[in-house]
Amino acid sequence: MPIALSPTVEFESAVPSTNRAFVLHGVEDVRFEERPVPSELGSLEVIVAPKKTGLCGSDAHYLSHGSIGDYVLTSPMILGHESAGIVVKVGSAVTSLAPGDRVAMEPGESCRMCYSCKDGHYNRCPSMAFAATPPFDGTLAGFYKLPADMCYPLSHAVSLEEGALIEPLAVGVMAVTTIGQMPLGANVVVFGAGPVGLLTMAAAKALGARHVLAVDIQEPRLEFAKQYAASDYFVPTRTVEGETRLAYSRRQADEIKARFNYAERGPQGVDLIIDCTGAEICVQTALYLLKHGGTYVQVGMGTDSLTIPISTVLNKELTVKGSFRYGPGIYTQAIDLVSRGLIDLKPLITHRYAFVDAAKAFAANRAGKGEDGRALIKAVIDGPLA
């Protein structure tokens, strides 16, 4: 007797017969298009049907500006890169995956042969083909082809929509572990309580931070952060007339130290600060706030040119590092943290959309809230049905 599948399971295991795609043609110009269903693949590649795709700030930026920095849209490009789906076909030499497997997708294919790849930093590969970064197509389509080792099986305890959020979680895990080298029991401060900031806080907490402080200018976000992963939060104080930006940042740092009893040195100082805003004031405040010998990690993408207190970096022997996407072992680590229940991704998924409503998802993402008026943290779009 056939067992009736729940609608979720039915949807998640169905392979579309056509390849509908959500394509960016130019600024504010997105269209649904039919693309050929891929069938050719290399011996070590797989074809996946993306089932759930989360939206991120970069997707919204390409829609509104047609570019991010040096990456400029010059021809139509499928959007989306935070995805999980079902394996449809595997290359002849693939032994680790089979059709039907549920996987989180790491959306970047590196060359494996350049200096950076050989040296263990494939995220820095100059030939990186990254989904939805021009000129490479993204995952908001019926099918996506990628190397088998870039697909990570998900246990049945992890849903596909959580699988999609492994991508932004990986950004947070990278910042905390590989780049930040967070020691056990660290005092951590995260600037920015958007999705990346929240996931960074969750990673720090899950990996053994003693205390995680969230800083943002929007108190509702911080309230959420506190019940999600942060130990506490801080809302910056008002500016004082005539105060320079550096002086303001200094004052915020002093205020934080006083309120949360952070020391200048040693185990009671702030060991690690991760900035997920890119905002000048945050960068400055962080450098003033860190203990002597502390580490600062830049994740947030903001203005390229800002003023920092470099003498503070010198005098306190601070380590200042950049964190770009994610590298070897990060996806595995992120999935493990979720599978073991140390990180819960579900509270971040606030809005869900069918594939045909993808444009609405982007609009909600930009507005920061859905049609229902609820604050949006992560919008997730289904893969196409047919």
């Binding site: 494996r112 042969m113 200096y115 050989k118 040296d119 263990g120 494939y122 080792d149 070897p328 072992g329």
Partner: protein
């Protein structure tokens, strides 16, 4: 070298090395064809020649030996854009997969699917460079600066082994380094240690000529010739002897302000030397086992563990070729080219192996590094 065929030195079994004319094959897409100018011979090549095996790796089908090589590009395969005919290159013999966890973390020398030229570890065997022409992926060819000779470029391979060892051991400026074994690898280890800023370097060997060469040519600050003693009868006696040897080395040549050397590079693979290496390292120091000898050794483990002496293994190298070539070019390895003491044309490859086996050329001169190639 014939223009119509590729002359290859093919090993069929123990002491059965046959010079064979093979058809020339064009390079595949992504490859270049390299006319081999120089191939250095190493202990593993010699092992294959003598025994038809290297430890547990047994020759299954005929295979060309040789993996320390350099040459000039004579043809390029489809899709190759960055390499041209006439370019001079050093050949990195190990082709890794790029997709396994080890490759992705920058440790491709440990790649589970590594295919290394001239090694019987993988089957089918990949031919080595003891032939006139070799096709190889361009991603594993390193361009030579004009000032770098083919012989220096061939030395980049064993240099890579010790450079990798020096990195694993974090050899730094001001440190003291002891090298056990004054063969080519030992002398390269001394050169690399010095290039990293090691100040007090000592070399030890049972062969007086090699120790003298090392000190006279400036590879080591001082050298100690180990007296040859009868083989110990029991394991316990061996351990005692090794400890005594270590004591002698430290008394005569140890650093004055420390209980031992910061780093000991063991380049013999001999069990008693491995034991002595542990005793000669200072508390908190490091021993790197570079020499490949007995696979199962008795070691004074408490002398290491309770003094926090770290024991490090090394297997070939990763990400060393560009830095090794730069080291040659920068002049920070003075005298290293003197290591090439003996040369044979490819046509005389059997004589070459016999000389290597004897340890001396037919005039009775010491062999440090022997090269076979276009001479």
């Amino acid at each position: 070298m014939s223009e119509q065929s590729n002359l290859a030195a093919v090993l069929h079994g123990a002491k059965d090395l046959r010079l064979t004319k093979r058809p020339i094959s064009a390079p595949a897409p992504g490859e270049a064809q390299v006319a081999i100018k120089a191939t250095g011979l190493c202990g593993s090549d010699l092992h294959y020649y003598i025994h038809g095996r290297n430890g547990e790796y047994v020759l299954k089908t005929p295979m060309c030996l040789g993996h320390e090589s350099a040459g000039i590009i004579t043809a390029i395969g489809e899709g190759v854009t960055d390499y041209k005919v006439g370019e001079r290159v050093a050949i990195e013999a190990g082709v890794y997969c790029g997709a396994c966890r080890l490759c992705k973390t920058g440790r491709y020398n440990l790649c589970t699917k590594m295919r290394f030229n001239s090694s019987a570890k993988v089957f089918p065997h990949q031919d080595g460079s003891l032939q006139s022409l070799l096709n190889h992926p361009v991603t594993h060819l390193h361009k030579l600066p004009d000032s770098c000779s083919y012989e220096a470029a061939a030395l980049v391979e064993p240099l890579s082994v010790v450079l990798h060892a020096a990195r694993r051991a974090h050899i730094a400026a001001g440190q003291t380094v002891l090298v056990l074994g004054a063969g080519a690898v030992g002398l390269l280890a001394l050169a690399v240690a010095k290039a990293h800023g090691a100040t007090h370097t000592v070399v030890v060997d049972i062969n007086e000529e090699r120790v003298k060469f090392a000190v006279d040519e400036g590879f080591a600050t001082s050298g100690y010739v180990l007296p040859r003693t009868p083989r110990p009868e029991t394991s316990a006696a061996g351990l005692e002897a090794a400890k005594a040897t270590a004591g002698d080395i430290l008394t005569g040549y140890g650093p004055v302000d420390s209980d031992g050397f910061d780093v000991v590079m063991e380049c013999t693979g001999v069990e008693t030397c491995m034991q002595a290496a542990i005793h000669t390292a200072r508390p908190g120091g490091k021993v790197v086992f570079i020499g490949m000898g007995t696979p199962n050794a008795t070691l004074p483990i408490s002398a290491a563990a309770f003094r926090e002496v770290d024991l490090l293994g090394v297997f070939r190298y990763a990400n060393t070729y560009p830095d090794a070539l730069a080291l040659f070019g920068s002049g920070r390895l003075p005298g290293v080219e003197k290591l090439v003491t003996t040369r044979f044309p490819l046509e005389k490859v059997n004589e070459a192996f016999e000389a290597l086996l004897a340890g001396k050329d037919k005039d009775g001169n010491m062999i440090m590094k022997l090269m076979v190639g276009d001479y």
